[in-house]
């Protein structure tokens, strides 16, 4: 698979804190790449550095061979990169429809795409005109992901989408990720829930203290309990 996104030796500082200390990562086109690690490992900072919300102080972030570091967040988003933050990032005062229209930017929402999205997340159709602030946690997450895929994007960055959600909703999200993979999306997914990671991941990177400590295939990591324990400790087991 051709690499769509690559990070090479990326360092990021937030204030006087050195958060990313040389991150090397590749997201191949058409694959769902997992980014795992303990709390505070630097996973969210990695996603924010890619989308330009934090500026890398050294290294290279390349998307289709284009250097993203000098670009501002809106320019990066317009290259076809969608970002679903950990807090979902929905606009609570706007309706479900308005949230999706905003995500489509200047274009009209394609009817076929919308039907496909409603198939993926039925609550979005049901609560089409409801203010997003009134949705449940799971529905908000569906809207957040729906907003990222309402237009075909080249790359989708998703930060801990299953955090705090009921198992039934997590199951629905796993199905949605599988469907997105079938549709050819490239996804970089940060996740603490190992069950989710095992169910949908193709490749995997594990982070610790601002560095990548393991890179490989998700199926191999899922098979190797010793490696899981060594890399991820108990923090992930607790979420299984």
């Amino acid at each position: 698979m051709a690499e769509l996104l690559s990070l090479a030796g990326v360092h990021t500082h937030i204030g006087r804190y050195h958060i990313l200390e040389g991150v090397d990562l590749i997201a191949p086109e058409g694959e769902l790449t997992m980014l795992l690690g303990r709390n505070g490992a630097g996973k969210t900072t990695t996603l924010k550095t890619i989308i330009g919300l934090h500026r890398a102080s050294a290294g290279a972030v390349r998307f289709q061979s284009r250097d993203l570091i000098p670009l501002r967040t809106p320019e990066i988003a317009r290259l076809g990169i969608a970002y679903v933050p950990e807090d979902m990032g929905i606009f609570a005062g706007l309706t479900v429809r308005e949230n999706l229209v905003l995500a489509a930017r200047e274009r009209e929402i394609d009817d076929r795409r919308l039907k496909w999205l409603f198939g993926l997340f039925p609550p979005l159709e049901k609560f089409w005109q409801l203010r997003a602030g009134f949705l449940s946690g799971g529905q908000k997450q569906m809207l957040a992901i729906g907003r990222a895929v309402i237009e075909p994007r080249r790359l989708i960055l998703i930060d801990e989408p299953t955090k705090g959600l009921a198992p039934a909703i997590v199951g629905a999200l796993i199905e949605a990720f599988r469907e997105l993979k079938r549709a050819g999306s490239t996804i970089l997914l940060v996740e603490q829930n190992f069950h989710v990671a095992r169910s949908v991941g193709d490749g995997v990177f594990v982070m610790d203290t601002g560095r990548i400590t393991h890179a490989g295939r998700m199926a191999e990591l899922a098979e190797d309990a010793g490696l899981q324990r060594r890399l991820l400790g108990l923090s992930l087991d607790a979420h299984q």
Binding site: I51, L53, R72, T73, P74, A77, R78, Y83, P85, G89, F91, A92, G93, L94, E98, V101, L102, A103, R105, E106, R147
Partner: protein, 353 residues
């Protein structure tokens, strides 16, 4: 039809719809329903302030920008018309030139302030606008050869808009239609049109982006929106509409001075009207401006009557003395903010949801 006219953004809720409709009808028919110079003056002020407050709500309520320079743009519109009328003579061409010059100056200033300072944090932007507005007010007072200084400028307007002009020799519906009445309806129509334009703006994709920026500008950026461009655009549009409101005010008064359009107390009034009406809803501007200006103009009369009615009761006539109207105005604001924390519109919509 009405749905399209209001850009699909109806007041929502029976009480709110009734109140808005009542105010609009009362303003449209003010020369017939409330004859008298003072009443017409109050109605004209309400029309102008609805536009001014709604244009400020575009900034504060829809985009989350706190600016103290709104009266500066209001003043630029008023001075544009006044200076042009004094210097170029009484005529439509002078009014048009004054208006175009004022709009150009406002657009340039709003663009400069926006591009230089909308990247910084909200509090710094507010400080920059406060400094610029104060500087402009001092400038207007000092450049007396141009602005008339503290005395301001009194000017003449085309004869067809003056009280001496009669549309017919006979009263129509019991009202003598003078140039003043025509000017009032002109102010009403322009105000209504500007309000509808603003309603269209906030319900267009542009308005949704502004609301998204207000909620979280980082999220809006992550969706691909250049927030500085949108904020600056909102700032310029709001300034242009405030300028038009200022021009209407000057035209109505046939006078302009620093205290009439540039004073900081007007800025405070605008803020109060936005908060009382309800931020983030243009209908709030209609109710906020109407209530505030009615209270400003008629509270003293009401208190005079109340004081007379309570003669003989200890303390009450003293408390209700017309000289204490500002105290009661203050009490009314405190009560309205306490009982309507989300403004009248927010409260009425919340109750009926």
């Amino acid at each position: 039809m009405i749905d399209r006219l209001l850009s699909g953004d109806l007041p929502r809720g029976r009480v709110l719809s009734f109140l808005v409709l009542a105010v609009v009808l009362a303003l449209a028919l003010a020369p017939i329903l409330f004859p008298g110079q003072r009443n017409l003056d109050v109605a004209a002020r309400i029309c102008v302030f609805i536009v001014l407050v709604a244009s400020y709500d575009l900034l504060l309520g829809y985009t989350g920008i706190v600016s103290f320079a709104h009266t500066m743009f209001f003043g630029i519109g008023a001075y544009g018309v006044a200076i042009a009328s004094v210097r170029l003579g009484t005529g439509w061409d002078a009014l048009a030139i004054g208006l175009i010059a004022a709009l150009s100056l406002s657009a340039a200033l709003a663009l400069a302030i926006g591009l230089f300072s909308l990247r910084v944090r909200a509090i710094f932007f507010a400080m920059v606008t406060l400094a610029v507005a104060s500087a402009f007010q001092i400038l207007a007072s000092q450049l007396s050869w141009l602005t008339g200084g503290e005395d301001g400028l009194t000017f003449r307007i085309p004869a067809v808009l003056t009280p001496g002009f009669r549309l017919s020799e006979e009263p129509i519906l019991g009202v003598m239609i003078t140039g003043r009445t025509l000017l009032y309806w002109g102010v009403f129509l322009v105000s209504a049109s500007l309000f509808l334009v603003m309603l269209r703006m906030v319900n267009a994709p542009f308005g949704r982006v502004l609301q998204a920026i207000r909620e979280n500008d980082f999220r809006a950026e992550a969706l691909g929106y250049r927030t500085v461009v949108y904020r600056t655009s909102a700032s310029v549009l709001s300034a242009l509409i405030a300028t038009l409101a200022g021009a209407m005010m000057a035209l109505w008064l046939r006078y302009n001075g620093p205290a009439t359009t540039l004073s900081f107390s007007i800025m405070v009034d605008i803020l109060l009207m936005v908060v009382i009406g309800g931020m983030g809803s243009l209908y709030g501007a209609i109710l906020g401006a109407t209530l505030f200006i009615l209270a400003q103009n008629y509270l003293q009369d009401l208190m005079k009557q109340a004081a007379a009615a309570t003669q003989g009761v200890p303390l009450l006539p003293e408390l209700l003395h017309p000289d204490r109207w500002l105290l009661w105005l203050g009490v009314l604001f405190v009560l309205s903010v306490y009982f309507f924390p989300s403004g009248i519109v927010g409260r009425l919509r919340g109750v009926e949801r």
